[in-house]
C-alpha cells in the first residue's frame, strides 16, 4: 500500500494512461545502461520524483513500457506492491533512444535495493524483524509475478525496500521491472501462455512466502473479470503495443489466472 499522502496520486496514476506533465532528467548517470536503461526525472511543481524507462529502442514484440503500465494497473486494483506507472511519450530525446517510455513513481524518499539486505545477519535484530515481517506480506505480489510470467526476481535490484524516516511505519517492499513479462518476445503466442513456471527468487523471499497468502493472491487474480483485464490492456495505444500483441496479452492473462491456484498448490510448500 502506498503511503497515505500519496494515495490520491496513486489513484490518479491508475486512472490515467499518459502523464500530462513534462519530465526532466535529474541525474547524469543512466541506470542499468547495459539493459534497457532509464534515469530519474522530476516535473515542475510536482513534489515527487519518478523513474523514466526504457532508453533503448524496443522492437514491437518487446513492448517494455506497455508491459510496465499493464502490470502496475493490475497491481493497483488488487493493492499489490508495485509503484504506479504512466506512459510518457518523450520529445527531443537523442535519436538512438526510445520515444515510447513510461515513468514509475518514486513512492518513498528512500529506496534500497533488496540485494543490500539479503544478508540479514549484518543488521540489528529490530531491522531483521521488520524485514522478515514485511517480506511475508508480499506473498500476494508473488502470485502476480506468477500470473505475468516474471522471469527473474533473483536479482539484487528489481525489488526495493521503500522507507520514510518521517513516518517509520511506512516501510514496504516494492516490486519493480515488469518490462520483460507478459507476452514479451511473443512467448505467449500459440497458447504459449499455458506454461506457468516458478519465478526464481532469492532465499530470503523463499523462506518468507506464506502459501495461504499466495493462494489468496491467486484467487483474487482469478476473480478479476475478463472484461476488466481487457479494459486495462485495450487502452494501450497501438504504437506502444500492437493489437495482435494486446490480444495475446488479454488471452494470456485471462487464461493463466485460472491456472495459478493449481500451480501454487503443486509447487509451493
Amino acid at each position: 500500500m502506498p503511503p497515505e499522502h500519496l494515495a490520491s496520486i496513486c489513484k490518479e496514476w491508475r486512472r490515467q494512461l499518459f502523464t500530462d506533465r513534462e519530465w526532466v532528467r535529474t541525474e547524469e548517470k543512466p541506470i542499468s545502461p547495459g539493459e534497457a536503461g532509464g534515469y530519474r526525472v522530476a516535473s515542475a511543481e510536482f513534489p515527487f520524483s519518478a523513474y523514466l524507462k526504457p532508453l533503448r529502442v524496443c522492437e514491437l514484440h518487446e513492448p517494455r513500457a506497455a508491459n510496465e503500465k499493464i502490470v502496475a494497473d493490475i497491481a493497483s486494483d488488487l493493492k499489490l506492491s508495485v509503484p504506479p506507472v504512466l506512459l510518457y511519450r518523450r520529445q527531443n530525446q537523442p535519436s538512438n533512444e526510445e520515444v515510447r517510455c513510461c515513468i514509475s513513481l518514486v513512492v518513498y524518499p528512500e529506496h534500497h535495493e533488496w540485494g543490500q539486505i539479503w544478508n540479514l545477519s549484518l543488521f540489528p535484530q529490530s531491522v531483521q524483524l521488520l524485514v522478515r515481517d514485511a517480506l511475508s506480506s508480499y506473498s500476494k505480489t508473488f502470485a502476480l509475478d506468477l500470473l505475468i510470467g516474471q522471469t527473474d526476481r533473483n536479482n539484487q535490484r528489481n525489488v526495493v525496500l521503500g522507507a520514510d524516516a518521517a513516518s517509520p511505519p511506512n516501510t514496504e517492499f516494492l516490486f519493480l521491472d515488469h518490462a520483460m513479462s507478459l507476452n514479451y518476445g511473443n512467448r505467449w503466442d500459440n497458447m504459449g501462455w499455458k506454461k506457468v513456471e516458478m519465478v526464481p527468487i532469492p532465499d530470503i523471499l523463499k523462506s518468507s512466502l506464506r502459501k495461504d497468502l499466495v493462494l489468496d493472491g491467486a484467487d483474487q487474480l482469478a476473480d478479476l473479470a475478463d472484461a476488466h483485464v481487457q479494459d486495462i490492456v485495450e487502452r494501450i495505444p497501438e504504437d506502444y503495443m500492437a493489437s495482435a500483441h494486446r490480444a495475446a496479452v488479454i488471452a494470456g492473462l485471462n487464461g493463466r489466472k485460472h491456472l495459478l491456484r493449481q500451480f501454487v498448490e503443486q509447487h509451493l510448500i
Partner: protein, 176 residues
Amino acid sequence: MDVEYKYALLRHRPSLYLNETENIAVLVEGPVGERQVIFLVGCTPHPSVSVSEISESIGRSMPEILESLIRDAIRSKKPQDDVLTSLAQSMSWNYSVSEPASVRDSGPISAVAFKLFSQYVAGADQLVENYEEATRRQVRPAETKIRMGDTFLTLLPVPGPELTVRSAGRAAGASD
C-alpha cells in the same frame, strides 16, 4: 612509471526527494604486482536530514555490503565490463556508485585510494590518519578484518585467479 587506475565514488543521498548527496567512499580498481585488485576506503554517512533505521543500518554495514556486492559483481559482470562498472549498475538509489573514471598515478593503489578519499570525502583526512596509525601498529596477514576505534579495515583475497578486495574506513559505533 604511471599506472592507470579506475575509480568510482560511493554516494549517499538521504532522500530521493532532495538533491543533497554526500560522498562516503572511494573504490579503486587497479593492479598490484601481477594481480588486479579492488581497494576500498570509506566511512559511514553523516546526513543532515534524518533517515530511516534501515538506511542507518545499511550505512553502518556498508563495508560488508560492498564486499558482498563486489564479489557478486565479479561473478556476474559481462566480459566487456570492469568490476566497478558492474557495481555501479547494482547501486542506483539512496546509496549509489558513480560511473567509473580513470586516473594515472605512479603510487601504489592504496596511496591512490587515500588520495582520492581525501579529495572527495568530507572529513577524510582524519580518517586517513587513523587508518595509517592503525596499519603502522598491525602486521597484516593475508586475510583480516579489524575494527579499531571508529576505523574499519578489511583485507581479504577473493576466490578466483585475479581479484582481491581490500577495504578500509570508519564504522560508526565500533569499539576496540
